[in-house]
């Protein structure tokens, strides 16, 4: 049992990445987040496919984020094809998105990040240290999946979300069941969220970075981006503004923006940019080290939002509808949306036969790479003199604060 072989993968993140430390022989002088996930070339895979296949294929970019990829792709294709969805479909999609946020945040907080805060290595150890917290966490995660399943037919790769509508809407009974579960779990969830909010920070306070998020990001599907540097960017200009570049150390393209300052996206960015002071005041140091707490706040808000949406759906009465069809075609569609991990963009161009001729997908983790690099640089300075293993461990914790989703980043 003693044969050991080193596998250099950053643990407890989705996909394959590594932290590389550069040492001058005595001290660590640099740190880099290397992304060596294998690309599937999704943008190339999608070209040549018919418009009605795009979303089914694009959602396979990532499992954790499949609902939001599916909806982003559907919206972009619908825009290009002149397909207008019903209010019921819009509400159902929004509900599915909140289900995705609940699942993704619960997974991150309780399975991926909490081991860092408790200084254990895995969910195995976590289940021994904090069995109750882990059980509640898994229950919340399950609830997020239940919402996604009820609307999308499946928690991963939701097939029931279609171009122009849904296959079969959930029954009022199922929706009530979701609301009931939220109600039953309310105090347990609140306790757990308070617990997360009270966790002692494990990283030094890193200086705040600039942020961006979709305007009114809790509506998810607005067409504009807002930055903390005071800019507003329309979806049509999104690809150009993110300004992706290729670096040899990352298989994921890196957003450079206008080249002046790195921006980050995600729950903390959303809270700082678009939430009332009641929420944003909890994050006075605006530092990425508090991102777990931002996730906890969003988790609770998402559960509330889900209940509101369910009430609206039930009040309106759920109807079986035929998916809407194309009315007028243009050649291009862009969708800008907030995924659990931050801003996501899908852009497609079609020829007159509805065949996809170009695809662009920009994901939160790809966007966050320059902010991650800036945070790592700062951490190295702050930890100057600490030993290699300590720095490596802390750098990994820092990267997990950005909750990277590497399948998404490379795609």
């Amino acid at each position: 049992m003693s044969r050991v072989s080193k596998v250099d993968i950053l643990a407890r993140v989705e996909g394959h990445g590594t932290v590389e430390l550069v040492s001058d022989g005595k001290r660590v002088v640099d740190a880099r987040f290397l992304i060596h996930e294998s690309p599937r070339f999704f943008e190339a895979l999608l070209t040549g496919r018919r418009f009605d296949e795009v979303a089914d294929i694009a959602c396979r970019i990532c499992s954790i984020c499949s609902t939001v990829h599916k909806i982003a792709a559907l919206q972009a294709v619908e825009q290009a094809m002149g397909i207008y969805i019903s209010r019921q479909t819009a509400l159902l999609r929004e509900l599915a998105l909140y289900g995705g946020v609940i699942e993704s945040h619960a997974l991150h907080i309780f399975c991926l990040a909490l081991p860092d805060y408790l200084d254990v290595k895995s969910i195995n150890e976590l289940s021994e240290r904090e069995p109750q917290k882990m059980k509640t966490g898994l229950k919340i995660k399950k609830l997020g999946n239940f919402i996604q399943e009820s609307v999308g037919g499946r928690a991963i790769h939701p097939f029931n979300l279609l171009l122009g509508g849904v296959g079969t809407p959930p029954t009022p009974e199922v929706l009530k069941e979701i609301s009931d579960q939220i109600r039953i779990m309310r105090s347990e969830i609140s306790e757990t969220i308070v617990y997360a909010l009270k966790l002692e920070e494990i990283l030094p306070p890193l200086s705040p970075l600039e942020q961006c998020a979709v305007i009114g990001s809790y509506q998810f599907s607005a067409g504009k981006l807002m930055t903390s540097t005071g800019r507003v960017i329309s979806a049509d200009y999104g690809v150009e503004w993110f300004n992706e570049h290729i670096e040899p150390y990352s298989n994921a393209k890196i957003s450079r923006f206008d080249g002046s300052t790195p921006l980050f996206v995600g729950p903390l960015a959303r809270i700082l940019l678009s939430m009332p002071p009641l929420y944003s005041e909890n994050f006075v140091d605006r530092s990425i080290r508090s991102s777990l707490k931002a996730r906890a706040v969003e988790l609770e808000l998402s559960l509330e939002k889900a209940e509101v949406l369910i009430r609206q759906l039930i009040e309106a009465g759920l109807k079986s509808e035929q998916p809407a069809v194309s009315r007028s075609c243009t050649t291009e569609g862009v969708s800008l949306i907030e995924a659990p991990r931050g801003t996501l963009l899908h852009r497609y161009r079609f020829d007159t036969n509805g065949i996809c001729r170009a695809a662009d997908i920009i994901t939160p983790t790809a966007i966050n790479q320059s902010a991650i690099a800036a945070s790592l640089k700062e951490l190295i300075v702050l930890m100057d003199g600490a030993d290699y293993d300590q720095i490596k461990k802390t750098a990994e914790i820092l990267i997990r604060c950005y909750d990277p989703c590497i399948s998404c980043a490379v795609h």
Binding site: E53, S63, P115, F159
Partner: protein, 247 residues
């Protein structure tokens, strides 16, 4: 009882098969008691491969040299190697354009940059190593994963399904989307085991579980043609998850 040592990891994929396991929220605490998830980067560190494994559960297809190396290493260390999910079994969505030059696809995404030049055509696991059992699906059903793990505890491996999605669709008394609604549903050619999840919600089967052994493709093409779907359209749809469909 001694815990079974498992290695669970992904190759070129979306992590969906591994996430399906983490989505077994009710069963997870029990699983942690019965299995030692010794190598499971998605859920735990440390990450060195140490000693032998009772089983390796591998998601995804292989498209990079470091994946090939890891797969061989896992094979050498494991009593059983189990391919989980359509990518691992058939190639999956990543293999969608396996009939085109890899370099052309790479250039389309990365332009003139020399990044990821070592990528090769995505291969299912059994093209490289002996695979002892397979579970298909994009993603696989949770119940199938649990059955796999339960089986391992009893020293058994899962068997491949030998009936199409249509069989399960009939059992659920769904309206046939192909014959009654004229939609391109692939159920008759595709391995069952999903309880006809999609057709049961009036969404045509997109074939995510891959080809049924002994699928009668010729007869199916005749039926599709009667419904107005030409061969090219049907093949394009079939090859979404498995590039190997041929007459």
């Amino acid at each position: 009882m001694k815990k079974l040592r498992l290695a669970i990891t992904g190759m070129t994929a979306c992590s969906g098969c591994q996430l399906s396991l983490l989505n077994c929220e009710n069963e997870l605490p029990d699983l942690l008691e019965k299995f030692d998830f010794s190598f499971f980067p998605l859920a735990s560190s440390p990450l060195d491969l140490i000693g032998e494994y009772d089983a390796s559960i591998v998601e995804g297809c292989v498209s990079m040299p470091h994946e090939k190396k890891l797969l061989l290493e896992l094979r050498n260390r494991s009593r059983y190697l189990i391919a989980v999910g359509t990518c691992a079994v058939f190639g999956g969505v990543a293999a969608l354009k396996n009939d085109e030059e890899r370099e052309v696809l790479r250039k389309q995404v990365y332009g003139s940059s020399s990044i990821v030049e070592s990528t090769f055509r995505p291969l299912p696991l059994n093209n490289l190593v002996q695979v002892d059992a397979s579970i298909t699906g994009c993603p696989p059903e949770k119940m199938e994963l649990l059955r796999l793990l339960g089986g391992l505890l009893a020293g058994a491996l899962p068997v491949d399904s030998d009936y199409p999605v249509c069989t399960e669709c009939r059992i659920r008394e769904n309206i046939c989307l192909l014959t009654e609604r004229g939609e391109l549903c692939l159920g008759m050619l595709v391995s069952g085991g999903c309880h006809a999840r999609c057709p049961s919600m009036a969404v045509p089967c997109e074939g995510c579980r891959g080809p049924l052994p002994e699928a009668n493709l010729r007869e199916a093409l005749r039926i599709y043609a009667e419904k107005g779907f030409d061969r090219e359209t049907v093949f394009a749809r079939l090859r979404r998850f498995c590039p190997e469909w041929r007459l």
